[in-house]
């Protein structure tokens, strides 16, 4: 039915009949779309008409653009940061004095999924060992690990048969980071995956770790992998930080030409969100926390990120 719309008094939502209301709404929507398209076309014509003198294209606002400036953002040339990094707990690793050796374990009574995830993680990270925890206290494991020359400890916490937390602790007295782990995908759940990850040492990519806190976390991740990646293996492990979520992916790459590279995902994937960072090794009661995620204070703004 052809009905004329009178803009000032008539509104689509006032029609009582649902069918007619729906119809009128669709028509209104079409009209809006047409107007928008016409506006766009006009603007484009104006742009072309102006040619070189046209004002530059407006950059759309994204959350990354609008991010609240964090005062702890690391400046690449900052000396203080460089000095700190030369003297912190990862200095021996970065000076190539230690070779990373990692112990992966879970919370009590791990279920199948967690066990398989641990195994796959062990294949991804070179020089890592999986040990089952049968009710052993972490406080007692840690001195034993230090005695056996482990550099890092990873504990995967499990809840309702899926892994949901990760505690990464740098051993000889290093910082402990507690993450919340989500969307864990095992190898068989990844589509179009390749063959198994081989024993070659992968390269490491750390993206977007900008603040001081992000830097220290990034170094923690880097300290898991041995220093010299074997380029023959063509494997790369990526820790990409985006809006405080750290995405882990493991790929095999191949350079098709100098401007094109193909990547193929193998290996498990998961995302981490930092919950707390402690100065010493794992100690829930008496530890000194460098950073805790406080929901009330830190989740207030949508444009503020800490990593």
């Amino acid at each position: 039915p052809q009905r004329v719309l009178f803009p000032p008094t008539f509104s689509v939502s006032e029609i009582k009949n649902k069918q007619r209301r729906h119809f009128m709404f669709l028509r209104w929507k079409q009209q809006q779309r047409k107007e928008k398209l016409a506006l766009k076309k006009k603007r484009r014509k104006e742009r072309e008409a102006l040619g070189d003198k046209a004002p530059p294209k407006a950059v759309p606002k994204t959350i990354e653009n609008q991010r609240v400036y964090d005062e702890t953002t690391v400046d690449p040339n900052d000396e203080e940061v460089a000095f700190d990094e030369a003297t912190d707990e990862f200095a021996p690793y970065f000076n190539r004095q230690t070779v990373p050796k990692i112990l992966i374990t879970t919370s009590d009574r791990p279920r199948g999924r967690t066990v398989r995830f641990c195994e796959q993680l062990a294949t991804v990270i070179p020089n890592s060992h999986v040990y089952y925890r049968r009710g052993l206290a972490l406080k007692r494991i840690i001195p034993q690990c230090i005695a056996r020359d482990f550099t890092d400890l990873i504990v995967i916490n499990e809840d309702r048969k899926i892994p949901n937390g990760l505690v990464l602790s740098h051993l000889p007295d290093g910082p402990t980071a507690h993450f919340r782990m989500s969307s864990v995908r095992l190898r068989k759940e990844i589509k179009r995956k390749g063959k198994e990850p081989t024993e070659h040492v992968p390269e490491v990519i750390l993206n977007n770790f900008t603040t001081r806190l992000g830097h220290s976390i990034g170094r923690m991740f880097a300290a898991l992998f041995p220093h010299d990646p074997q380029f023959i293996g063509r494997q790369v492990a990526t820790f990409h930080n985006q809006r405080d979520y750290i995405f882990f992916r493991f790929h095999r790459y191949i350079f098709k030409s100098e401007k094109k590279v193909g990547i193929q995902e193998l290996g498990p994937r998961f995302t981490l969100k930092l919950r707390s960072l402690q100065k010493g090794t794992f100690d829930s009661k008496f530890g000194e926390y460098e950073w805790i995620h406080k929901r009330r204070e830190m989740d207030t703004s949508r444009r503020k990120f800490h990593l």
Binding site: T62, I63, E64, A137, L138, R180, S182, S183, G194, K195, T198, E203, I205, N207, F231, I232, G233, R234, V236, T238, H240, Q242, R243, D244, Y245, F247, R249, H251, R252, Y253, I254, F255, K256, S257, E258, K259, V261, G262, I263, Q264, T271, K273, R295
Partner: protein
């Protein structure tokens, strides 16, 4: 009159402490000795009764006698038992000296059980406690949503590819990959003050590689649509390290699907055809069978 009480409460009338299940009747009375609803364990139906109960880690013996049946407030007499297990057993015996065997025995049994669970509590509190943190639905939903959006914003594949290409440009891979970097070379030549002969030689080499490259590139792209031979490429890349000049030729050769790595490009341009031959042996076999 305890008999009367039992005949009322036990079987016929309603007892609010009684809990029935399919197999058994339980008594919810806090002074009950065994926890079952029996003639001998009902604290209401026995005028002489005793129990052991614990409060804040200390065990007490409660006793009820007929004399005090009229005074509900003073009905239950409470005796603190010693912390020492054997001594406490003796105390129970002392207090219940002329009491029926059943009650004495059950009191001691109950006391034993209580001390055992108290010990267990003390041991468990020393071990690690699992802390249950409740999930907040709204927050979980919010975090999941934000994670999805962050994933979309991250554009991981692009980021990784960009980073890898950056590293290639920065020459972190050294001499493993020898791509003819035309633009870079030419720019370098223009910027650096090199002698003309050298630059000419380089340009000639580039042209040669260009010519070869062109032949292979077409077939390469079609074959690399699926990555089945990535592992074969690994082995080939080891060879690459040894022979730097013929790297590209070998790489493109080994990408063929067959097991013959070193065939020329012409071979791969033909599609792989399988030819089947039919053999006529049936009439022969039939006659033999007949």
């Amino acid at each position: 009159s305890s008999q009367v009480v039992w005949s009322m409460l036990g079987n016929r009338q309603f007892c609010s402490y009684k809990m029935t299940t399919k197999t058994q009747n339980f008594c919810r009375n806090e002074y009950n000795l065994t926890g079952l609803c029996n003639r001998s364990s009902c604290p209401l139906a026995n005028s002489q009764y005793a129990t052991v109960r614990e409060e804040k880690g200390r065990c007490y013996l409660y006793m009820k006698t007929i004399e005090r049946a009229a005074f509900p407030r003073r009905l239950w007499e409470r005796v603190l038992l010693s912390k020492n297990y054997e001594k406490a057993l003796e105390e129970i015996d002392e207090n219940l000296i002329y009491w029926p065997r059943f009650i004495r025995h059950k009191c001691k049994q109950r006391f034993t059980k209580i001390t055992q669970y108290l010990i267990r509590i003390r041991k468990l509190t020393l071990k690690r406690q699992r802390k249950l943190v409740p999930l907040r639905r709204k927050i979980e939903r919010r975090e999941n949503r934000r994670e999805e959006k962050a994933l979309i914003a991250a554009q991981l594949d692009n980021a990784i590819e960009k980073e890898l290409l950056e590293r290639l440009k920065q020459d972190t891979y050294g001499d493993i990959y020898n791509f003819p970097i035309h633009a870079f070379d030419k720019a370098l030549q223009q910027q650096d003050a090199e002698s003309e002969s050298e630059s000419d030689a380089e340009r000639e080499e580039d042209d040669d590689e260009d010519v070869d490259k062109r032949e292979f590139v077409e077939a390469e792209d079609s074959e690399l649509s699926d990555f089945e031979d990535m592992d074969k490429l690994e082995t080939s890349s080891e060879e690459e390290q040894e022979e730097e000049e013929e790297v590209e030729k070998k790489a493109s050769h080994s990408k063929s699907k067959g097991k013959t790595p070193l065939k020329g490009p012409a071979r791969r341009k033909r599609p792989y055809i399988e030819i089947e031959y039919e053999e006529e042996t049936e009439p022969g076999s039939r006659t033999k069978a007949a």
